[in-house]
Symmetry: C2
Subunit: 302 residues, 2 copies
């Protein structure tokens, strides 16, 4: 025996409502025999009569009534599937698992989360803050949807879009205020405090100084940019900060901030996601939000 179909249930519902084959067929935009056949097939599939066909009227049997109640629930649920799909066309819905590197997260996330939840009501945002390599791995595993990292990542399976660039600034103890800004060569002679191994920002800073990672002698590892700034404030050394961290980290510390003159060190921050992800359009939307958030922060700081 054939399985039952949604079509049959729809026809059944129409006939139960109309109590008349002809009118029900009209309502379904089919011919009366087509409806008759489908109803008959449905009854055979169930092994029970659903309607009592009298010459005067077509009436539901008892079982038909019980059946109709459940069928209506089912049809409503099915129609809601369509609504659900339509609703999630333009609006990002459900859970968004976003990864962010530690040298970005504290400064950018508050604004991003605020804007996203405001624009996409009902969006549940999970944040993962860790190193780029782990983010990439978790992205590939499907444990993350997207991540905000420093470009380039150069993973062939990932799409990357640029969000913004930010310069690095030199942070020195407060008493160094006004001293000439060292160039890269001079910097190499100073005690440069950087994050521990694995942070991309560390590599970027080293790269700017033309140093290789195999020079641990002159480096002290700090666990966060905030810690580094505190150490600088204590006169232990100097460090580099991405511009975005300036507002938060140097506000209440006795340090002096200096911009480099000729060659501005910088990095590009971008968003990445699996090339296969069907949420690409939504991610582009989100990237706009992030870009705007970052711009707003920059404007507000200057």
């Amino acid at each position: 025996m054939t399985n039952l179909t949604l079509k049959q249930l729809r026809y059944f519902e129409a006939l139960a409502r109309q109590g008349h084959f002809g009118r029900a067929a009209d309502a379904c935009a089919i011919s009366q025999p087509a409806l008759s056949m489908q109803i008959k097939e449905l009854e055979e599939t169930l092994g029970t009569e659903l309607f009592e066909r009298g010459p005067r009227q077509v009436r539901l049997t008892h079982f038909g009534e019980a059946f109709a109640l459940r069928v209506r629930d089912i049809l409503r649920a099915v129609d809601e599937l369509g609504d659900l799909a339509r609703a999630s066309q333009h609006r990002l819905v459900g859970r968004l698992r976003i990864g962010v590197i530690p040298t970005i997260a504290p400064y950018l996330l508050p604004a991003i989360i605020g804007n996203l939840t405001r624009m996409h009501e009902g969006l549940e945002i999970h944040v993962r803050e860790t190193l780029t390599s782990k983010l990439v791995q978790e992205l590939a595993d499907g444990r993350l949807d997207t991540a905000i990292v420093a470009l380039p990542v150069s993973e062939p399976s990932l799409t990357e879009v640029a969000l913004f660039s930010e310069n690095f600034v030199l942070v020195r103890p407060g008493e160094d205020e006004g001293k000439p800004v060292p160039n890269r060569e001079a910097l190499r002679e100073m005690r440069l405090l950087l994050l521990e191994e694995g942070h991309c920002f560390r590599d970027q800073a080293l790269s700017f100084c033309n140093m290789h990672s195999a020079l641990p002698r002159e480096l002290l590892d700090g666990s966060s940019l905030s810690t580094l700034v505190q150490m600088v404030s204590a006169g232990i050394g100097v460090t580099l900060l991405p511009e975005m961290a300036l507002g938060v980290e140097t506000r209440s510390a006795s340090v002096s901030v200096a911009h480099f003159q000729s060659v501005q060190p910088s990095r590009t921050i971008g968003m990445i996601w699996r090339k296969t992800s069907p949420l690409a359009k939504q991610f582009l939307q989100i990237s706009d939000v992030v870009r705007q958030s970052a711009d707003a922060m920059r404007d507000h700081r200057t």
Copy 2:
């Protein structure tokens, strides 16, 4: 765009569960391209991607996950439809609206209801007690499922099956005990107490006496057999009772009961239902229950 089908939802569920087109196709007992096409069609219908097709694995999108939850509910509900039908195959289920004439109801119903509820657990019995004409009308209107009345009813649209026959007995005041039993002609000279117009039992009694209904002079109307017996007990007249009523009505009344000698008046009690009713088989089942109940009563009384 075509509507979505249960088949698509079933395929979708299999693919969501297996995460692999080939295995899901096997599970559905179809070829892999067939499943691919149906999934594609489903996604097009919804306007959204349900799966993220990576070279490594096939994963649900967020929307796909939300979708799967609802789909599973729907499929479960649909499968329950089949169970519901199968469960109500042989067992009478739901509501049974049964009509009974007043000269039967008080005596037969307790036993019937007891037996029916015992045999068909979960059966909800509604009883309607009124005159045959109204029962027939309500039956035709679909407000009753079946009725127990005196045959024949001779409605072409109704099926009738005999349940049992019962004789009428003469009920006289207690002091008439032992007096010769009058024949029909003698009965016509006595003060015969009968039910009001419309009761079939009244017509049956009159018919036995060869009287026509247009003889109100010698008749007094009582509202129930019980009332009639009380009036007889008070010496107001005599009446006829169906045998079935004997036990209940004459137990605590000072009346004498006499059986007629030669020509036993009687009536046939039967069950009726719409010819179009698909519950015919169940009604036959019920009629057996009723028959047994009546026999048990008769045996118990003698």
